[in-house]
Symmetry: C2
């Protein structure tokens, strides 16, 4: 399909975290639409899917200010300026879960909400875990939870496992594990 | 874990789509942090996972202004004020893919980004599809793509399948299909 043409674009507002842009587009069939989008081109982030001893998934429990709720997720965070993706993954894993890893593999990059956000996140599978802690900026230590890989379907339904990114991570993880099995 | 206490909260900025709030929290250990969050309590949405003839997944291809890219996803959209979840799912399915469904099942609700967004989305599996189109507000007709359920692993890796929500939907779909199989 032919791409829409940007007729007009203009910053609407900035806060410390959020940058809102107004966008007027003309589609290839002549239709015009006005959009608002958030953080175009901003906010590279990483989510780590840590596997310990081939049969245990490492989860963290943390407070989410957006929904005012504790929930289960995977270690994640922003990639610092100039930082490599896998370095950021290794740092977040140590800060949030207290593990380092000998094997880090980038699986895929996803967009958070393509229709109105520029935010993207890289998913990294971590294996060969060993205890190693770095001090992060967490307001309180995150609870680390060990979840058997054999019980993934219980995790899917768990009422505390409600982050879209983390659920997307499970798809990527299952795919990664299936591919690994096949290649043996 | 004991919940943090909200010390202060205040609206920072509103645009048509985005509502940014500043939030000062005190955690149970005494640590204080300032946050910004987006759309607290706002934006109920629905994503439909449509299965046709037991072996074909229905995808749509649409333009995402947030990333300025065409991508593959599932029919989705905001729930109108006063609208029931399954009614919204049926409406979006007809507007975006040109199908209605005799069977709609709510699988789970997920949060887009718990740490800084209030946005939530309901996932609905649709079966018993039949052609039926409603006029939506799309600027151009969305391309409808039929994807064999037997080729889900190719979809996971497809460079056009990059929406976190849709990837999360695949986990929920696989879980739903496995549960259905077991209950037979």
């Amino acid at each position: 399909m032919k791409y829409p043409r940007i007729v007009q674009q203009q910053w609407l507002t900035h806060s410390q975290l959020f940058h809102v842009e107004a966008l007027s587009l003309e589609f290839s069939n002549g239709a015009k639409r006005d959009y608002e989008r958030l953080n175009p081109g901003h906010d590279r982030a990483v989510m780590v899917l840590p596997i310990r001893d081939d049969d245990t998934l490492i989860l963290i429990k943390e407070y989410g200010a957006g929904i005012d709720q504790y929930h289960l997720s995977f270690p994640k965070g922003a990639i610092d300026s100039g930082e490599e993706i896998l370095d950021a993954a290794l740092r977040e894993l140590q800060e949030e879960a207290g593990y380092a890893a000998t094997e880090l593999r980038l699986v895929k990059q996803l967009a958070l909400s393509p229709s109105y956000m520029g935010n993207k996140i890289h998913f990294v599978v971590a294996r060969g875990l060993y205890p190693s802690r770095l001090e992060g900026d967490e307001p309180e230590p995150l609870e680390v939870i060990e979840w058997p890989l054999s019980k993934l379907s219980e995790l899917v339904l768990d009422a505390r496992f409600i982050e879209a990114y983390a659920m997307a991570g499970l798809t990527l993880l299952s795919h990664h594990l299936a591919a690994k099995k096949t290649s043996r």
